[in-house]
Amino acid sequence: MPFAESVVNSDFFPHGYCMRWQPGLIGLHVVSDALIAIAYFCIPLALFYFVRRRKDVPFHWMFICFAAFILSCGATHLMGIVTLWQPVYRLDGIIKALTAVASIVTAIYLFRLLPTLLQIPSRQDLALSEERTAESNRLNLRLEEQLARERTLIEQMREQESRLQHTVSKLGKTDEELRQSLLQQETLLKEMHHRVKNNLFVMSSLLRMQANSLDDSKAIAALQDSERRVLSMALIHERLYGGNSVMSAVDFDEYCQMLGNDLLASYNEDPARITIRYQLVPIRLPVEQAIPCGLIVNELLTNAFKYAYPADRKGEVSITLRQPSRDTVTLTVSDQGVGLPDSVNWQQSKSLGLQIVNLLTTQIDGTISLKPSPGTSFELTFPISLNARM
């Protein structure tokens, strides 16, 4: 008999024969197998539909295996109903064999897939993961917002930096302009002192020329005295324009030495007869103090050179400059000569020189005294100006 024919050959007893054709029992098997078969035919439909719709699901072939396995199981239950009346046991056996193959294959694949399936997160894990994802998203959002704020801040800082650089550049220019202006002012100030000195020199020259044109010795002496006074002022301005950058103050110690030497040279034909001893500490005086002090020194030295050592007497004139405290200066001009006559009231003297000394002492808020000593010693003390102290 050909195989295909033998498959559907019903030369056996139907299965109902084994149940003695009891209707209840037959009905039970039929209904049960029918329901199972229906279910087993529906489940694969659902699985096929799921696989079609969710192509993203991994290992969807597992669902197909299950569908095949369940379908073939349904087929075996259907054959259970058929073989109750038609003993096509060979067909039933083939279907069962196919079911067995599908089952074995599905089982094998399932067991192989099991480790992977076990790693599938649970609902709780997914919920936790979702929560963490949500939290992470919120954190990302905050970070992004912060990043956006910081970017804005960086942008603002860049703008400020740019403005600052612009301002620094402008200030640099302003600073440079100020320096140039200051240099210009210093140059002008120097020039002014130079011109004042020159003008005073012109005055002294005019006085000298006038003196040279006269015959009267008293008149000549008077003009020469005036000439020296003018020169003592000119020397201040010479020190101012010839000195360092501080144009408003004079190194008075150096000035005293220069003035003393110039005066001595103008009065003294014999350098060995009268000498000057200097004991001077470095002191800077502002011009408003230096000029009166210079005139006072001029008067006191002139008196000493004229009257201290008459005839051919030799002697020394000393000039001392001290700063006994931060605020005061003491200037002493003394000699070991004949001294002031008792008849001279030096504080109320009619002598122009002493009048000038007294007037200028008052002008610089100083005090002057005549020290008792052999010879003559005038000591002038005055407060040093704030400017010079600075």
Binding site: L295, Q355, I356, L359, L360, T362, Q363
Partner: protein
């Protein structure tokens, strides 16, 4: 008239002050005081009541001569003649606004000094006469 005119001199360069004082005395005026600052000047004026004040504009202290002149009570009727090394417009305007009786630029010649003083005194005389009428 000149021998009775009492003048206060306000000048912080005492050599210049002494020189001007000598000129005034030779011209028959009496210098009753020399002040070097506004404070000294106002004290001397209120004490001695001069007939005229010769005021240098640049003097010692923070208050200059023009401001000092403005502080002299108007009721005293003391004319003030200003002296200065500067003759710029701004200083002249300020001096005018302060009621200057005269303005002299240094160095001052004796003739200019005497003329300015006499003019100031004559003007005061005229003002006093108009006020009483």
């Amino acid at each position: 008239m000149n021998s009775r005119v009492k003048i206060i001199l306000v000048e912080d360069e005492l050599i210049i002050a002494a020189s001007i004082a000598q000129e005034l005395q030779k011209s028959g005026f009496e210098v009753i005081g020399i002040a070097t600052s506004a404070e000294q000047a106002l004290a001397a004026i209120s004490q001695s009541l001069p007939e005229l004040v010769l005021m240098d504009i640049r003097i010692r202290g923070p208050v200059d001569g023009i401001e000092a002149a403005q502080q002299i009570p108007k009721s005293l009727g003391i004319p003030v003649i200003f002296m200065s090394a500067h003759a710029d417009t701004k200083t002249l305007d300020r001096a005018k606004a302060a009621g200057a009786a005269g303005y002299l630029v240094k160095p001052i010649a004796r003739g200019a000094l005497v003329t300015a003083i006499q003019t100031a005194l004559d003007n005061r005389q005229i003002e006093n006469t108009s006020a009483t009428q």
